[in-house]
Amino acid sequence: MSGDSAASAPGRSGARPGRPVGRTAGARLRNLFEGGLLEGGVQGSPVIRLFLRWVRRPLLPVMRLWRRNIQLRVVATTLVMSLGVVLLLGFVVIGQVRNGLLDAKVKASQSQATGGFAVAKQKADEAASGAGTGAAAGAGTADGTATVDGRQSQNVIQWMSDLVESLSSGGAGAFDVVTLPVGDDSGGGRSPRGSGNVNPTSSVPADLRERVNNGMTAAQSYTQIVYSNDKDPQPALVIGKQVNDPNGRPYELYYLFPLTQEEKSLSLVKGTLATAGLFVVVLLGAIAWLVVRQVVTPVRMAAGIAERLSAGRLQERMKVTGEDDIARLGEAFNKMAQNLQVKIQQLEDLSRMQRRFVSDVSHELRTPLTTVRMAADVIHEAREDFDPVTARSAELLADQLDRFESLLADLLEISRFDAGAAALEAEPIDLREVVRRVVSGAEPLAERKGTHLRVIGDQQPVVAEADARRVERVLRNLVVNAVEHGEGRDVVVKLAAAGGAVAVAVRDYGVGLKPGEATRVFSRFWRADPARARTTGGTGLGLSIALEDARLHGGWLQAWGEPGGGSQFRLTLPRTADEPLRGSPIPLEPKDSRRNRGLDEAGLPGGGEEKRATVPVQQGGVQAPALPPRAPIAPRSVTADPAALPGNGNGARVVPRPTGGTQRTDDKPVTPPAPEAGATRPDAAQAEDSTEPGEAFRGR
């Protein structure tokens, strides 16, 4: 129940016009819901909807701003896109710079290392030849006393240390040299050595060592130099090669070139690029903002002025400067406003002329008609003195003058509506009062027809801002029509108020309406049955005027009917005059309609029948009932005439004539079954909502 009522609250269902009001709940549940609630609820699990709403709520202002502010959108898009472009550019440029820097470094390093390897080889060769000939001429680099292994090793250790020292000293800190033994062979002076505090083992990556060991050529890789003292590790290029020591044993010689300089250059480039990129992005954003502002400001101005124009200030114009597109927009706008003003002026003049004309015609016609009327009455009064023919003529004269008068009055009323001269004098009125007056006024006619007039739903005040005179005219029309077409059966006037709306429905159980007629009844001079039209009087304009009266209130006047099952006319008015209607407290199709009863009797509570559809565009319109998915009764042809009286105020729907066996005797209209006799008495507790017609409906 809560979900349903929440959905019916103003502003919710109205936000999603056109969404069907499908009620999956069965007929029983539906009956429960329809207590006094508006129609027009929204389908769906309330829990999910609530959750979605809860999630979306904090985002709503942002989303709203995003949707509404084109400047924000353009600036944000520009920022995002320029940021992307700058990032892309930055990456490309930085990549190029890095490649350039490294290429140079690698080339230099390679030549340096190649030289170094050559020197190492040369030195080893020299040392080997020196040792081989027994001459101790190894100029300080190798001790010439290498006779036994131990001594030789001693010599090699010294030789290696000297080698590392001499190789690295040539670089003056531009590189470091590391020697490593091949594999685990650390004997013979080939234990790891490194110049400049380089940690030899951890500075050379393992895969490079593998490559060096596997081939005789030089291999290179990037690495981090790890220092044995506290110095931070730094990136470096390492080039290694397997070289033989003076004993012909291989060892690994590595040149490590620190990339500090390159790193510095690169980070400088990066910093520069980032700063430039940031500036570019911010500036682009600012430029976008400025540019968009140039376009948006006049557009906003135009929007503001258009709003003021539509609010009726027709003299509003845009300021036009220059000759650019914006100026052209302004000029076109102003031209449009000018034309609009002229046209509206013309229409106003026309309307004034029309009103004037109607007023004049009214006066000119009415004055002689008054004289005729009085003369006819005087003659009519004296008809007893006449011969029968003249007396009858006097009667006819008086009668037809009555008709002529009401026709004239209705025509003038309609033309007042057409001229837009009808004014609403709304004040808070209690519709029960109006209904009471109307019912007591229709009582004599109802007695003549043998009809019993019942009013339900009048326990609580039904107050709305309305023009009592017009509402009374509408209701009088509806009630008199119901009595005249009710074939002596009961006429029920039902009142209800809910949400921002009040409604009065007049239900009869007479001949009803054929499919398509529910929209046509409001047409001017339309008569249900031409054959019997003239006997029931009326001008044929009553419902048209009633419809106009409802429209003037911003309300709806709608009709429903089924052939032989009677009809229901429902007037829905907003509770306050300027509030748009979103639904009606009374369903248009009464619960005791043959269709509803048919369903209920078939015992299909969950028939899934779409009872109603939300009124599509705020106002009436023809509502076509959806076909039940598995109708227990014969398929119906759904006919609705959407072209009839488009849009405003009136909506009507038609219950199609059931085909096949369910069609009951049209010549002898059905008396509704009475399962709960007495429960529907007006004085009963739940009388407002008589779901089942009771004994009270039985022909009286």
Partner: protein, 229 residues
């Protein structure tokens, strides 16, 4: 007060046929009609014939009905019934505001017209001596006078009737329909604007501050009642 409660009726209408027909009907009902067809001459005719009631067509050559109505009202409280072809809001309200007591829309039935005239003349019957108070006003019903602190306030007969109706039952809230029935003599619901306009006119005469009425109090959504004494 007058010859038998039938009375002299001044018909101000430029349509000779209608005027003649009105004459036939009025004479048939025992009134003494006199006629004037021109708005400019209406006031002179009024002064000359001293009618008990004026039937005034709103559309007249010369001065229009509204103006004539205002002029007559300026010098007399005699009941004025407008004949109008326009039931539009503005015309009727303007007519009522210019001082007409009642209006009847063409085309009307003779009986309707006569009933309306009778209702306006009915009050000419001698009322019983009666003293009423409403707010700080003292009403002498028989003497047809309303006084505040000894100062008499001039009211038209209709306004006087309206005030007396309210003052007689100060505990009761009168709906516009009830007032229409009691004061104007309508048996069926009629135009409640009659009540609204005349309450405004009455207030403008008897209230100290018509914006904040203390004598004739509005009961919102219902009608009017007499202010506390």
């Amino acid at each position: 007060m007058m010859s038998f409660m039938k009375g002299r009726v001044l018909v101000v209408d430029d349509d000779t046929a209608l005027a003649e027909m009105l004459g036939i009907v009025l004479r048939g009902e025992g009134f003494e009609p006199s006629f004037v067809a021109d708005g400019d001459k209406a006031l002179a005719a009024f002064r000359e014939t001293k009618p008990d009631l004026v039937l005034l067509d709103l559309m007249l050559p010369g001065r229009d009905g509204i103006e004539v109505c205002r002029l007559i009202r300026a010098e007399s409280g005699v009941p004025i019934v407008m004949l109008t072809a326009k039931s539009d809001t503005v015309d009727v309200v303007v007519g009522l505001e210019s001082g007409a007591d009642d209006y009847i829309v063409k085309p009307f039935k003779p009986k309707e017209l006569v009933a309306r005239i009778r209702a306006r003349l009915r009050r000419s019957e001698e009322p019983a001596p009666e003293q009423l108070t409403i707010g700080d006003l003292v009403i002498d019903v028989a003497g047809h006078s309303v006084k505040r602190d000894g100062q008499s306030i001039a009211l038209t007969p209709l306004e006087f009737d309206l005030l007396v109706a309210l003052a007689r039952k100060p505990w009761q809230v009168f709906t516009r329909e009830v007032l229409l029935e009691q004061v104007w003599g309508y048996r069926h619901a009629a135009d409640t604007r009659l009540v609204n306009v005349h309450v405004q006119r009455l207030r403008s005469k008897v209230e100290k501050d018509p914006e904040r009425p203390e004598i004739v109090v509005t009961v919102r959504g219902v009608g009017y009642k007499a202010g506390p004494s």
